[in-house]
Structures are given as C-alpha cells and as structure tokens.
Amino acid sequence: MSDLLLTRGLQYAGYVVEAILCLLLIWQGRWRRLRVLCLYVAALFLLDGVARSASLSFFGQRSPQYYYFYWVTDVALALGAFLLVCGFFYRAFAKDEKRWSFVRLLLPSVFVIVLGVSALSITRNYANLYTVFIIEFSQNLYFSCLVLNTLLYVMIQQLEIQDDELGLLVCGLGVQFAGEAAGLALVHVTLGQAFSQILFGLLNPVCTLGMLFIWMYAIGKSPQAVAAGRRLGKGAALQEAVVTR
C-alpha cells in the first residue's frame, strides 16, 4: 500500500514538473529553439498526465479499454521519444552535411529494423496480435532510442561538439531510457516477482523526474549566460549568473 502511495506521489510530482517545464519553455520563449523538446514534453504531459488519468478514472484499472488506451499512448510516446532523438541528432549534425547524410540514412533504417523485429513477435502469438505487437514494438523502440542516444553522446564527445545544453539534454534522456530499460529487464529476469514490480513501479517515475530536472537544469542554466554574454560581455554575464544563482 505504501509503495503504491509513493509511486502515485512520484507520478503526480512528475506531471507537475512536466507542466512547469512546458510553461517554462513557452514563458521564456525557448520553445522556438527547442521545438521538438517542447512538443515531446507537452505530449508527455497531455498523454501520460491528463489522458491516461482521465481514462483510468473513466474506465477503471482492470478494464480492457484502459489497457488498450495505455499501450496505444505508450506507442505514441515511444514514437515521440524516437523523434526527439532524431531532433537531437539534427541539432548536433545539421551543419555537417557529410555526417548528417549518414545519420539521415541511419535513423529510418533503425526504425524499419525495429518495426520488422517487432512484427516477427506476432508469429509467436497469433491469439493476441494487436497487443503483442504494440507492447513489443514500444519496448524495442525505447531500447533502440537508448542505443541511439548513447551513440549520439559518444559522437558528440568524439567530434568535440561544443554544445553543453545538448549534452545535458541527451544525458537527461539517457537517464530516463536506461532506468526504464533496466527496470523492465529486471522484471523479465526475475519472472515478474513482486519486489521487481514494486521496484519498476518506483524506478519509472523517479527516472522521469530525473530526466525533467536535468532538462530544467540544462534549459535554465546555459542560455541565460549566453544571452547575457551577448548583451553585456563575458565578464558581466558571469557576474550576472553569479548574482542570479
């Protein structure tokens, strides 16, 4: 009971932080520069925070309607995460035509492979085609996002791309994907034992909160100093950053 309360508390804290981050992006005008991120956070808030909660209270936890709705929104969020990773790749390599042409080929290829591998899972279970495919597809897509995100981070380090904000955004996404993948794998390894399910239930909102806080830190920190630096010069920008801390 207490773990359920804790999980719910963390989930609702996550919804609040999602809404705050969304407002922060709009209020400070950062959504123009971080459009994909803003759309993803908005989708996270609307689908995970609003629509799922509404569906839960309307249909109930054990209803098939809620079950289907949950997994459909999960696929939508997985697709959103994949697009967000694509957006980060674009930001990192948009100015490098040669590498961007390679990445432009890589990303759709990964998507097609994930789709193909997930379609194979249908052959193992004809009884429940729709849900088996959806669950498999969303889990595979999340894991491929984790791999792509790590690949992006390694490339940023190797090519010495000086973009601290992007580095932190990638880092936040990595914490979310890695934590979620680890939790899900633990459930599979322990064959769904109670403690692993409780851990997974807690780990998921904690990782989401971690990601949102890292993004807030990334958005709140670097551009402020850059903007101030343009107005007042480097020394003044640093002084201002010190004062506003």
């Binding site: 580095g167 932190l168 880092c171 990595g174 890695a178 680890a182 794998a185 640093l238 004062v243």
Partner: protein, 156 residues
C-alpha cells in the same frame, strides 16, 4: 537476453549520472575562487592533486583517505553555512555530495583490490575544487553584491 539488457542499461544509467556530474563540475567560474578558501581553511586537496599529477604517486592510502575526507567535511560545512542565506544545499551540490561518496567508496574498493587509487583520488579533488569555488564565489558575491570593489568602497 533480458539479463544482458539489464546489465547494459544499468551500466548506461550510472554512466549518464556520472556524465551529469562531470558536466556540473566543468562549470566555468568567473575567476579562481578556490585558492582563497583553500588558504583560509588550510585544505590539503591541492597538494594531493599536485603529488598525483606531477609525481604520479599519492601518499599512503590511510593518509590520503583521511585528507580527502576532512576536506570534504570542511567544504560541505562551508557550503551549507558560509554566505548561504537558506542554509541548504542546492540540487547540484546534493548530487555532487552523493557522487563524492560513491567515488570515495570506489577508491576504497580499488585499495582493497590493490589497484591504483590515483584516478579516483583525482576525481575527488576535482569535486572538492568545485565546492571550494562555489564557497569562494558565494563569499565574494555577499561581500560586493552587484557592486564593483570601488563602488563598494565609495558607499562605505
């Protein structure tokens, strides 16, 4: 397959947390604030770092651990109480305190396994230097606020 994914994703989870800590530590300060704090409090971590960087060796483990631990306690006390109106750690500081403890435990386990402790000790000195810079920066801000040194003197 699930066990492999569990290992990879757990590793990546901690890797990303470490990356985050390193990104925070890479913050550029307006000037070298740490030196005055080191001198005023007779902290020893710069000499530990110098010994590792220049000579490639550090002091014997018990002394090294004690030195770094004492500096950590002094600096975390200052972080909370020196020129800090709220008397609370910020989120970054909390994360770095946890990171320090994890790296310290890693250094201890390296010592037990008879591996080199120097890389972990260098990471610890980097964290301590960051803390000293934050304390120094705060003290500097409280002394002068938005004023330059000459403005401050004119307003006396």
């Amino acid at each position: 397959m699930a066990a492999l994914i569990l290992m990879i994703s757990t590793g990546l989870f901690f890797f990303y947390l470490q990356v985050l800590c390193q990104k925070i530590l890479r913050r550029q300060f307006a000037q070298e604030f740490s030196q005055s704090i080191v001198n005023a409090n007779r902290l020893e971590f710069p000499s530990v770092r110098k010994a590792i960087e220049e000579l490639g060796t550090s002091m014997e483990y018990p002394r090294l651990a004690l030195t770094l631990k004492c500096d950590f306690l002094a600096l975390t006390y200052l972080l909370k109480n020196a020129a800090n109106v709220n008397q609370k750690y910020s989120y970054e500081e909390r994360l770095l305190i946890v990171y320090f403890k994890v790296v310290f435990a890693a250094m201890f386990s390296r010592h037990l396994l008879k591996l080199r402790e120097a890389p972990a000790a260098l990471k610890l000195t980097a964290i301590l230097e960051y803390f000293a810079n934050v304390v120094g920066e705060r003290v500097n801000t409280v002394r002068f606020g938005n004023l330059t040194a000459s403005d401050y003197l004119l307003n006396l």
